[in-house]
Amino acid sequence: MWTAKQLERLRLESAILIQAGLTQFSINHDASRNSYYASGYATSSSGKRYFLYIPVPNGFPNERPPMYLTDPHPLLMRDGTRISSLGVSHIMHTLDPYPNGMIQLCHWRQNKWHAKIYLYQVLLKGLLWIEAYEQHLETGRPLADFVLTMSEA
């Protein structure tokens, strides 16, 4: 199911995470499902912790990996409503939520994704999303006011 080239890519991604200092995140193999994922707790500049989870799709690296924020859950907007209720939202930069309601962060859309984008870049976008989310909580302004629409790298 996983090709040697994909596995080499994941080993490389893992090494780059370490080299780039993103050691709060790691790539792991779930042997029971024979699936790979990147995950870890991100800490915001205000000290709050958020768990980011990236299941590696079978078509990786050509296929875009989704990035979910799974803790805290549910994640709320400043007005108390669940972010997941917005679905695919531009103002909050979210895509279709996980079936259990955990939100999916928008990084690259599939039409901009390509195989030269590294997982660490996706996680960096996750960190930026978290900072923007906290700005939204602070000011009530849409999250989109604090991050640019993700463009092609």
């Binding site: 792991n28 779930d30 996980y98 092609e152």
Partner: protein, 490 residues
């Protein structure tokens, strides 16, 4: 200006009947310039102010077109007593009758005829249309209505349509399809040179459909068609499929169209979408084909096709229109020789991301629920120059190792990427291009530009990505650790 003279009316009727039956009559028709109407006059009479009307002027016979290939295959049955029935499609209120065996198109009304050799089915013909093949006494060069039977004898085909009064003759053409098509390509693409060449067309929207059809016209003999989509009413404004085919799978619409253009093509159809779930199926198709045409409109399918074509060492062409088809681009990938599609994205991300929003699926890919993206396709006439360029580049790839006059073009099409603009679209970097009519040296609309760029040595698809990344991030690639095991938290 008409006449109620019964004798004149009778003469006109007789003259017209004679013309219709193509036999000499006692009266003839003329156009009387003074009366400004058609009149009948006795044969031999001269009217100085009249214009003669010939049978050619009144050529209103129905035309019956028959398949020579089918007639040859059924010659034995046609020669038996009573002849043999054949299926016709009737067009335009009986103006044309086309042997169903000539094509596959499902439109038109159906009727039957009986065809026979030497009049063996003529006496008690059960159908309103009859065809008879009679041996020619002194055959000269083969005319349209003549046919050389499997016995080596030349026959004259005659047909008639029965009505209440009489048998009305019909013009007959016995069509040798393959030689007629080959004759029009001769000198540029010789007979059969491409009959075994295969093209895999993935995505049969306006561009993909047009490319496949043009290649069939050029004599490409084998097509593999991939598209999961069905023809919708909105497609028809651009797609070669018509309103009468709404709801059909595009692979079936285009299969029929290809057979209409070249009955000898071999077509296989795969109504599947391109994605990781169909990777192994697409891999097999690519491995068995000479050239791949990628006409899909999403990034994932292009990257997947790129990967599989590199693996199979198969040349691929990617054609696409920019938004609203203000222009377009063609990328040709010769595996491991020229830049691949991933190299192209890395080198020209703006161009690679400038795509037409031609379908709801394309719009959904970039839309948000609070920020919808409208479907905004371009005009068909703006898509076709791009499709035409793809078809030409495919043709040159297929002819590369064969003899053809067209190979003189190989030197002109060496660049990997081609740019075309239909208009200097506002808001793009091309908006200030000079008017076409005022520029000789500068880039303008409606011209093709072949543009060179280099392969990416660190490309994840065709280069050494691991080494390049390791160098960039200061990693020793020989020390990459295995991925540890841990149950997924979700």
């Amino acid at each position: 200006m008409g006449t109620n003279d019964p004798q004149q009316q009778s003469m006109i009727r007789e003259a017209m009947k004679s013309i219709a039956e193509r036999r000499p009559g006692r009266t003839k028709l003329v156009y009387d310039k003074t009366k400004r109407t058609i009149v009948a006059v006795a044969e031999g009479a001269a009217i100085p102010t009249a214009l003669n009307i010939t049978a050619e002027d009144a050529d209103m016979f129905a035309v019956l077109s028959l398949s020579a290939k089918w007639i040859r295959a059924h010659w034995k049955d046609l020669s038996a007593a009573g002849g043999m029935k054949l299926e016709l499609v009737t067009w335009d209120e009986g103006d044309a009758y086309t042997h169903q065996e000539l094509g596959v198109h499902p439109t038109g009304q159906r009727t039957q005829a009986v065809a026979s050799v030497a009049g063996k089915g003529e006496e008690h013909c059960p159908t309103p249309i009859g065809v008879s093949f009679r041996q020619l006494e002194s055959p000269a060069s083969l005319r349209d209505c003549e046919f050389e039977g499997p016995d080596g004898v030349r026959y004259l085909a005659q047909a008639w349509k029965s009505n209440a009064d009489a048998k009305e003759p019909m013009d007959v053409e016995v069509v040798e399809v393959v030689s007629a098509l080959d004759a029009r390509r001769k000198g540029l693409i010789e007979n059969n040179v491409l009959s075994q060449s295969s093209v895999l067309c993935i995505g049969l929207g306006t561009g993909g459909a047009y490319i496949a059809t043009e290649l069939a016209k050029c004599g490409v003999g084998r097509f593999v068609l991939v598209d999961h989509d069905r023809l919708s009413a909105g497609n028809v404004v651009r797609h070669p499929g018509g309103l009468s085919e709404i709801g059909r799978l595009k692979v079936n619409v285009i299969r029929d169209l290809l057979l209409e253009k070249n009955p000898d093509v071999h077509v296989t159809r795969h109504p599947i979408s391109v994605g990781p779930e169909s990777e192994s199926a697409i891999r097999e198709l690519i491995q068995a084909t000479d050239v791949v045409v990628c006409g899909t409109d999403n990034r994932l399918s292009k990257l997947l096709i790129n990967k599989l074509c590199l693996e199979a060492n198969t040349v691929a062409l990617y054609g696409g229109a920019f938004r609203r088809a203000y222009g377009g681009q063609v990328l040709r990938v010769r595996p491991h020789v020229s830049p691949c599609h991933q190299c192209f994205i890395s080198a020209m991300p703006e161009e690679a991301g400038d795509v037409e929003i031609g379908s709801q699926a394309s719009a959904d890919e970039i839309a948000y629920s609070d920020r919808p993206v409208p479907v905004e396709p371009g005009l068909s006439l703006d898509v076709l120059p791009i499709a035409n360029m793809v078809a030409k580049l495919v043709l040159l790839e297929l002819l590369k190792d064969k003899e053809s006059t067209l190979n003189v073009l190989q030197r002109d099409f060496e660049a990997p990427w081609y740019l075309w603009l239909n208009r200097p679209e506002a808001g793009t970097k091309y908006s200030d291009w000079p008017p076409l009519s005022e520029s000789m040296d500068e880039m303008t609309i409606n011209r093709w530009y072949g543009i060179h760029f280099e392969r990416d040595s660190g490309c994840p698809a065709c280069g050494d990505f691991t080494t390049a990344s390791a160098v960039a991030y200061g990693i020793d690639p020989s020390t990459l650790a295995d991925i540890p095991s841990a149950p997924s938290p979700i």
